[in-house]
């Protein structure tokens, strides 16, 4: 039973470009929609999160777009930098967090 589908599995973007990662979910009870960022050798860390009462949230170069009717939310990284190269996980939640399988992002210098 796959409640969360994350795409793409891997992504290569030129420096300065826009990186887009998508997450589709099934459970309409989810009430919190975060993205985690994980660097090699480290645990995941919260990057940005949104609640279902808003459709978009922006923090610096990172934006979450949320489409409640389509049950999807996405992460946009503007002006992508080599330091953004990491694995990204969506993790929508009700009382138990469900993680997507991750997207390995590589930003070409």
């Amino acid at each position: 039973q796959q409640q969360v589908k994350q795409s793409p599995q891997s992504l290569i973007v030129q420096k300065g470009g826009i990186s887009i990662i998508n997450c589709a979910y099934e459970n309409t009870a989810f009430d919190y929609f975060p993205w985690y960022q994980q660097f090699p050798g480290k645990g995941p860390a919260l990057l940005i999160a949104i609640r279902p009462d808003v459709s978009e949230k922006k923090e610096g170069r990172f934006t979450i777009s949320f489409n409640k009717s389509a049950k999807q939310f996405s992460l946009h990284i503007m002006d992508s930098q080599p330091g953004d190269s990491a694995t990204y996980f969506c993790a929508p939640r009700d009382d138990k967090i469900i993680f997507g399988k991750g997207t390995r992002l590589h930003i070409l210098p």
Binding site: Q6, Q9, Y32, P34, G41, K42, G43, P44, A45, L46, A49, F89, A91, K96, I97, F99, G100, K101, G102
Partner: protein, 111 residues
């Protein structure tokens, strides 16, 4: 700043051994979690705990057990280690309605 500390970064054990992975958090969080992370499979929840002496099975509890005798400490136990338990193990803690805070993981190899 929340700190979740996992006692070992790397661990090598033999098949059949009993293995203990320790996790300590310093923010008085009620909830603690153990995940394993494997390439292409993401993070999979093994066990979690909402309170001292309380535990609940996650998605893949087989072959594992846990112990939470104190609020700040959550231990993962492999009763009889097998090679398919070679993985990265991540511990996390959180308060209600807050995001999870992760440790840096223990890379466990079972020979």
């Amino acid at each position: 700043d929340v700190k979740v500390t996992q006692s070992s970064r790397y661990l090598v054990k033999r098949t059949g051994e009993k293995v203990f992975l320790e996790c300590v958090q310093d923010m008085d969080h009620e909830n603690m979690f153990w995940y394993r992370q494997d390439p292409g499979l993401g993070l999979r929840l093994i066990y979690f705990s909402y309170d001292v002496k309380m535990k609940e099975k996650g998605d893949i509890p087989e072959g594992y057990s846990v112990s939470r005798e104190k609020k700040e400490r959550f231990s993962l136990i492999l009763e009889s280690a097998s090679t398919n338990q070679t993985s990265m193990y991540l511990c996390a803690s959180k308060d209600s309605n807050q995001p999870q805070h992760f440790g840096d993981g223990t890379r466990l190899s079972i020979l």
